[in-house]
């Protein structure tokens, strides 16, 4: 009885690894950012303007928009970082395993 290779998972492709790592780590960072930011700032106070934007009518909307905004920004940073790192080998820096 041998564990055949066909039922072993193939490693994820580089692209898939990048997307997985960036989406997940930026999600964690966005959770932290949302928590820290909204502990200090009440979304309703951000709207104390005379003409509050429609999306700031309730706290839940504020939290929701805030969370996705942070997630988006962190993901942009993550994708840029991974793109820069993967295209860096041409600069002459030798990295182990490449």
């Amino acid at each position: 009885m041998n564990a055949s290779d066909e039922d072993r998972p193939a490693p994820w492709s580089r692209l898939r690894q990048d997307v997985g790592a960036v989406v997940w780590s930026s999600f964690l960072a966005a959770c932290l950012a949302t928590m820290l930011f909204f502990a200090a700032f009440d979304p309703l106070l951000l709207a104390s303007d005379d003409n509050p934007p429609w999306w700031l009518e309730s706290r839940m909307t504020g939290y929701g928009i805030g969370f996705f905004f942070f997630w988006f920004v962190c993901a942009v940073a993550g994708f840029l970082t991974s793109a820069l790192l993967h295209s860096a080998s041409a600069s002459g820096t030798e990295r182990q395993g490449d």
Partner: protein
């Protein structure tokens, strides 16, 4: 512990194949099941517990206050949450240093929910070989029935999980009622679906791929390891050279070790590694290989523990020490933080207070010889019960405090603003002066809180 190697070029575009972990029985399987029941049990039951008329554990984000049994926390208490998170991180360091990836195998939501989804898959699609056969078979009524049964179980469990999760933030009894009357708010609906979908995708499909490719802890935990950390390891000295043999054959005469190369340890592994190649960062310490191997060893009448929890030191024949600088430092830090946390929560000021100066006027001349400054004293009662308060003024003796309402009373968890005036005889003082308003309990006469501001004279 291996760093992720750079061999990612292999199969750059290879399609993801499914892992079909073989089910296993044994000591560690039982322990994992017990841990899953306790943790998921807590998750699904806690939102239903009531405490003096409201949900016992409720992170009421719309109202910006957290209820945890008798305690109410406000954004001003954010410090406690930070402290709690630091404690959680430090416990993870401590347990990792002493017992390896205990978290991964027994407590991580990713593995815990995956186990439930795998169980549902087994109930509907059968065991490992039945599942592999079913996936290869062409579509038929039988296949459709089994696959849809699995999806029904998965989707309903995922939605229930999403509902429970949102139930920590919005009273769960109301949520359930609104679900059945189709009157859920848009954000509640959204977050239930969001969390439900994340559970479905992570536990149903991604599973241990999350641990392998996405989890930061998996990559960093080796930094907390040392030679005395408990790890799951294969006893190479005893097992090698591996090879097939008859049950009662004199394998030692043939020069074979105890490993019969049945590959069961590989087949049960949810991350698909071969523990016999040594410790790998993909290992989530679920101990399925220990159970599988112990079973085989018993059948062969060999002593158990060819794969076992051990330490690198023990495998090299050196003594294992639980007490060592790393574990002692992590442990003491953790104990210190815990003790501090308990003391801080227990002695937490029951009243929070802010003194806000009226922004519209620096001072007011009442016209009958008095100069007045106007303030709002914002008080929040963090206690569960009501508070009756008395305000007093600390500052230059020329000043006196006038409170509009003499009866300062706040219900448990209430936040209220009280207008107050501080006045002096005209020309008694000049310029700005530091003042402090103190709140004392009417019952005990104890000073509970204070807030600072300035008094401005012409």
């Amino acid at each position: 512990m291996n760093a992720p190697s750079g061999e990612t070029g292999v199969g750059l575009y290879a399609a993801q194949q499914k892992v079909y972990p073989r089910e296993v029985k044994g000591r560690f399987r039982t322990l994992r099941t017990a841990s899953i029941f306790v943790l998921l049990g807590l998750f699904y039951i806690v939102p239903w517990i009531q405490w003096s008329g409201r949900q016992a554990v409720l992170f009421d984000l719309p109202a910006r206050r957290f209820y945890i049994f008798g305690l109410t926390f406000f954004p001003q208490d954010f410090f406690f949450l930070t402290w709690l998170l630091i404690m959680a991180a430090l416990s993870l360091f401590f347990f990792t240093a002493v017992a390896g990836r205990l978290w991964c195998g027994f407590a991580c939501p990713q593995t815990v929910w995956t186990e439930v989804f795998v169980w549902m898959e087994r109930v509907t699609e059968g065991n490992r070989s039945q599942r592999m056969k079913l996936d290869k078979a062409p579509w038929s009524l039988h296949k459709l029935a089994r696959k849809s049964a699995k999806q029904v179980l998965w989707v309903s469990f995922a939605l229930f999980t999403g509902l429970t999760f949102v139930g920590f933030f919005s009273p769960i009894r109301g949520l359930v009622t609104s679900t059945f009357t189709l009157s859920l708010g848009p954000w509640e609906t959204f977050w239930i679906l969001f969390y439900g979908f994340a559970t479905y995708g992570n536990a149903g499909y991604l599973r241990e791929q999350v641990c392998k490719y996405m989890c930061p802890y998996a990559r960093f935990q080796s930094a907390m390891f040392d030679r005395q950390t408990l790890i799951i390891s294969y006893d190479t000295a005893r097992g090698e050279p591996r090879g097939a043999r008859g049950r009662d054959s004199d394998y030692k005469a043939k020069g074979l070790g105890d490993c019969i190369d049945c590959t069961l340890c590989v087949q049960v592994c949810p991350t698909g590694i071969d523990i016999r190649k040594g410790l790998q960062y993909e290992c989530i310490a679920c101990a399925a290989c220990i159970d599988a191997c112990d079973d085989v060893m018993a059948k062969m009448n060999y002593p158990q523990g060819l794969i076992r929890y051990s330490t690198q030191a023990a495998l090299e024949g050196k003594p294992t020490r639980i007490l060592r600088p790393r574990s002692v430092v992590y442990g003491l830090l953790l104990l210190g933080l815990m003790a501090g946390f308990v003391v801080a929560v227990a002695t937490r000021a029951p009243i929070g207070m802010e003194v806000l100066r009226d922004r519209n006027a620096l001072y007011r001349d009442t016209g009958d010889g008095w100069i007045e400054n106007v303030y709002t004293v914002r008080i929040l009662n963090k206690d569960a019960g009501p508070q009756r308060l008395l305000l007093t003024l600390e500052g230059p003796e020329e000043l006196s405090l006038e409170v509009e309402t003499t009866e300062l009373q706040l219900e448990g968890g209430e936040v209220k603003g009280f207008p107050v005036r501080i006045r002096m005889q005209a020309d008694a003082l000049r310029g700005g002066h530091e003042i402090e308003i103190e709140a004392t309990s009417r019952e005990t006469g104890k000073k509970l809180a204070s807030g600072e501001s300035r008094f401005i004279a012409p």
